[in-house]
């Protein structure tokens, strides 16, 4: 039985958007491909103690974190540190990990012993429409960013290898960049000025660490 753990904190705009979009994309894919059960840690329940208990008791194969991060940690609700390098990063051992958060791909992703780790080696940028804040799934500025980023865990759920999942996510960033820049683009110059740098920088900073983390592979 394959378990998946997804964290869905929602204490600010960035975490709320990442969580709402993750629920829509990842949970529906998991259901479609018949992966159950899923452990969802949501809102105030995204705590270190709950995550630790869930990982230890259920031994999920996939860990999908949404939140804030640092080079050496992944945060949960109200930025409580869930995983800290050198303290409890053993919880990532042999897991396939996706982290939608700033910076965690830098040191934690490189040094932990996960089977694979997809994350970001710098800030994860999100642009939004102030008139869509209450309806993240309808936010036209956030849509290309969230769809590109979440394509990685989405592909993992579909059974793709981490390398394929990472590359498909990178291609999705490219697809949206093309969408904004081709000659018959429906987007305004103002929209292009906003969304393009965000897509570009997120694509540039997205990384995959694998193999070297796990000499047994």
């Amino acid at each position: 039985m394959i378990f998946i753990l997804i964290t869905l904190p929602d204490h600010d705009d960035l975490t709320r958007y990442a969580s709402v979009w993750s629920e829509k994309i990842l949970l529906s894919t998991a259901e479609r491909v018949g992966i159950k059960p899923i452990i969802i840690s949501k809102g105030k329940n995204v705590t270190k103690s709950q995550i630790t208990e869930n990982i230890k008791s259920k031994n999920p194969k996939f860990l999908f974190f949404n939140g804030h991060g640092s080079p050496t940690s992944i945060g949960g609700y109200n930025n409580e540190e869930l995983i800290v390098l050198g303290e409890n990063d053993y919880l990532l051992n042999d897991k396939i990990v996706h982290v939608l958060a700033c910076d965690a791909g830098k040191t934690l992703g490189k040094e932990c012993k996960s089977k694979a780790f997809i994350g970001y080696v710098g800030k994860f940028w999100l642009c939004m429409d102030r008139f869509s804040l209450s309806r993240p799934l309808e936010d036209k500025f956030a849509t290309p960013v969230m769809l590109s980023a979440l394509e990685a865990p989405n592909q993992l759920l579909k059974g793709k290898r981490p390398k394929e999942a990472f590359e498909t996510s990178q291609k999705t960033y490219d697809k949206w960049i093309d969408e904004y820049t081709h000659s018959e683009s429906k987007y305004t110059t103002a929209e292009l000025q906003l969304v393009m740098p965000v897509l570009f920088i997120n694509k540039l900073l997205q990384v995959l660490h694998e193999e070297q983390n796990n000499s047994a592979n």
Binding site: D12, D13, L14, T15, H68, A101, C102, K123, F124, W125, L126, C127, M128, D129, R130, F131, L133, F141, T188, T189, A190, E191, Q193, L194, M196, P197, V198, F200, I201, L204
Partner: protein
């Protein structure tokens, strides 16, 4: 800050000009304590060279430099 990372007056002006061109209803966040910032707030961060303002400048300049490389 190394020489390569020093931010020039020209870069500040370029980034402010670019931010002035984004939609009025746009917000940007990277999950810092400043939260989601409006166009005017982003411009203020850049003008005042706050840590977030410097991050915005580095991000925008990295994007612009990619055209030079390609």
């Amino acid at each position: 800050m190394t020489k390569e990372e020093q931010i020039t007056r020209d870069e500040i002006d370029i980034v402010i000009a670019r931010l002035r061109a984004i939609p009025e209803n746009a917000l940007i966040t990277i999950g810092t304590p400043e939260g989601s910032l409006s166009k005017e707030q982003l411009i203020e961060e850049v003008k005042n060279l706050t840590p977030l303002g410097k991050e915005i400048i580095r991000m925008q300049m990295s994007y612009l430099r990619s055209f030079k490389k390609s």
